[in-house]
């Protein structure tokens, strides 16, 4: 599988994403934000970082980068896109995911491991996560508080679009386990069509045990499995 990882000025987790995919045995390459074509791409990762210095709003400028037109088209054609941290912010700003990410409620930058409960396995991003497994994945953000209005939240729930929630080690979704004040402890969501997802935690930083956790690999494995099934289905 060919993963394309976008690179904006001041993206800083692109290399980690490329490395994580390669460590899992698949091809990945960086793509500079000024490119207007994705080339050979099975999936796109919008990586973490501080694109454009987080100026104006996080992801507000990156969403207008030339490459984002190609990403929008790719998503419209059913291609799979995963936004991580700043990538999640870029996707909400671009309107590819609903809601918005605002400043953490305690105004602190949180750099720590959190626990994630997988709310649904019915998505290309969660289908391989073992049932009941609580993922231990690091976060590193100052503006990761997910916000959406009542109507949007109702839709997210009805359409099963909430993919991950912050929880404690036992899987309980509590306020104490919520590092940033996100509504409903939402850590990650997908769009209605289920081909675009975003999450604030960094699975690419949890793909090898030496980094403290390799739970992040389940998210990439899910995407890889879904892509492989898609390829088989198309060939049939």
């Amino acid at each position: 599988m060919n993963f394309v990882v976008l690179q904006f000025p001041a993206s800083n987790c692109d290399q980690d994403a490329v490395h994580a995919v390669r460590a899992l045995g698949h091809a990945a390459r960086g793509l500079w934000h000024k490119e207007t074509a994705l080339g050979d791409a099975d999936a796109v990762i919008v990586p973490g970082g501080f694109s454009y210095g987080d100026y104006l709003r996080c992801g507000a400028i990156a969403r207008f980068s030339p490459v984002m037109q190609a990403v929008k088209q790719f998503a419209e054609n059913g291609g799979w896109v995963l936004g991580i941290c700043n990538g999640f912010q870029v996707l909400t700003e671009a309107g590819l995911l609903p809601g918005a990410l605002v400043r953490n409620r305690d105004l602190q930058f949180h750099c720590e491991h959190v626990f994630l409960k997988t709310v649904t396995h019915d998505s290309p991003f969660t289908n391989r996560i073992p049932t009941g497994k609580i993922l231990r994945i690091p976060i590193a953000h100052g503006e990761g508080c997910y916000f959406a209005d009542e109507a949007t939240l109702t839709k997210l729930k009805m359409n099963n679009q909430i993919l991950w929630q912050y929880c404690d080690a036992e899987g309980r979704v509590t306020d104490a386990a919520n590092p940033n004040g996100s509504v409903w402890n939402i850590a990650g969501i997908c769009n209605e069509r289920r081909n675009v997802a975003g999450l604030m935690p960094h699975p690419e930083r949890a793909c090898e045990p030496i980094l403290g956790s390799d739970d992040g690999k389940w998210i990439f494995e899910s995407l890889i499995a879904a892509l492989q099934n898609k390829t088989i289905a198309q060939a049939a």
């Binding site: 507000a60 409620r105 305690d106 105004l107 508080c145 916000f147 959406a148 004040g181």
Partner: protein, 80 residues
Amino acid sequence: MKAKIIVTPKKAVVDPQGKTVQRALEQMGYGGIRAVHVGKYLEIELDGADREAARCSLDDACRKFLSNPVIEDYQLEISD
């Protein structure tokens, strides 16, 4: 011509910055403060003299880029 744009968080969005500033003001002895909302101010210097065209164009820019309508409101003022 000059455009003055004020961007503020929507009431429904939690504004921890606003609350923190409020607490600090109260601690410094300023009383009678009901609420504080922290926003953004932008000044854009423009060529030309057509106020209506400028307003139309910047209104568009405010909605699409300078503010995020999911979480922010904006006020736009054009002056000479």
